[in-house]
Assembly symmetry: C2
Homo-oligomer: 226 residues x 2
């Protein structure tokens, strides 16, 4: 197996392959070809072969991939053969939704701490996790050995929260706030940005041929706006 860094795009695809392989294993299948994997899950078979070839030989021509072997290998590559402790910052609806997120229940990710600044929330529980005072982030995060911080606070509070995460020495951040966070090479920030997701969709809707009047090149009319 090559151990060079693979791109974020590839890890996304590995996550997808893993989910597909788990589904097939759950159905009792033991092997699958890249073509049938692609057909079944609407993936690109050439891309599958390319991505997986990068990690070594898993396929046998004419037979396909050994599902359990490949699944376990992707689990290893993605580091999912250990567990990770999560801290959620922000005990609002979004943060609470992550605590309760059903897909995490059988995963390698375990919510160990939840933080807020609201005195009415601090001390209460969400999904069995007591809400801690954000003031005590560093000590609590250290005590429960946090690997990954999840930012679920309003945009204006995000830079301060990010500083706290950095100071606590946490190296991985999942960010829901629509704020760009500047991480150094020692850290990784992954953003799940609703605004950017919606803007990608508005771009798609604008470019669709059906909406011809909106797909014209943008004129200079707006130039005078400011």
């Amino acid at each position: 197996m090559k151990s060079e860094k693979i791109s974020q795009l590839t890890t996304n695809r590995l996550s997808i392959y893993l989910r597909c392989l788990k589904e097939l294993a759950g159905e009792g299948q033991t092997s699958v070809s890249s073509d049938s994997l692609a057909d079944r899950f609407h993936l690109n078979s050439a891309q599958i072969r390319k991505d997986l070839a990068y990690f070594g030989e898993f396929g046998i021509r004419g037979v396909g991939y050994d599902i359990a072997l490949l699944r376990d290998h992707i689990i290893k590559i993605l580091g999912l053969d250990r567990s990770y402790n999560l801290a959620i910052i922000g005990a609002g609806r979004l943060g609470s939704a992550v605590v309760d997120y059903e897909a995490l229940r059988l995963s390698s990710f375990h919510v160990k701490a939840l933080f807020d600044v609201d005195p009415k929330k601090i001390g209460k529980k969400v999904g069995g996790i007591v809400i801690s005072d954000l003031k005590n982030f560093q000590s609590v995060a250290k005590k429960v050995n946090i690997d990954i911080a999840v930012i679920a606070v309003p945009a204006h509070a995000t830079p301060d929260v990010f500083e706290k995460i950095k100071k606590a020495g946490i190296k991985a951040v999942l960010n829901f706030a629509p704020v760009r966070l500047n991480a150094d090479d020692e850290m990784r920030v992954r953003s799940l940005d609703v605004t950017s997701g919606l803007e990608n969709l508005s771009y798609f809707l604008t470019e669709r041929p059906q909406t011809g009047e909106r797909s014209k090149p943008a004129g200079k009319a707006r130039r005078s706006k400011e």
Copy 2:
């Protein structure tokens, strides 16, 4: 301006540039160079020039980009010069968090309908929006003219919800469920997948040199697991 399709990666970057330009405009700046834009927001200046050159000439060498002009142009490209009606499916914590999402308040995206299957929720309000019965999805979605559907239901309910969205003729979907949805070319699905985000972070944590013992090539030990 070229009107060919641009990649999802580019629209993500345009979203980021737009946010940065809005921030600079808010501070009263009128022009910015790609280098200072890159410095300020930790972006790649060569990438900025490449992305923006694709849409025409916005920069003047030595002077930089006209912030208002470029901002308004990106708004046009991303189709943000009109408004979009959103339907949220799933009135749990996640769906409710999207209804209340502060960043949407001044955006082009307006939540117009919220759906659930739980009789205890139907008829109640979240953020001023009455929760409708998912049974009536098609008629309600048509009445309020939904452009974008947001899936915030558990994984097992997602395929059925996606079918309803397709039948209603909605062409753009933001999907929070950890389920791969097969859209045809007429549709665009954008997934904000917590699991895949976390798996990208676990990959990063595993590959970091500090965690040397975990960055060894994966062995065959797990082969015997199944």
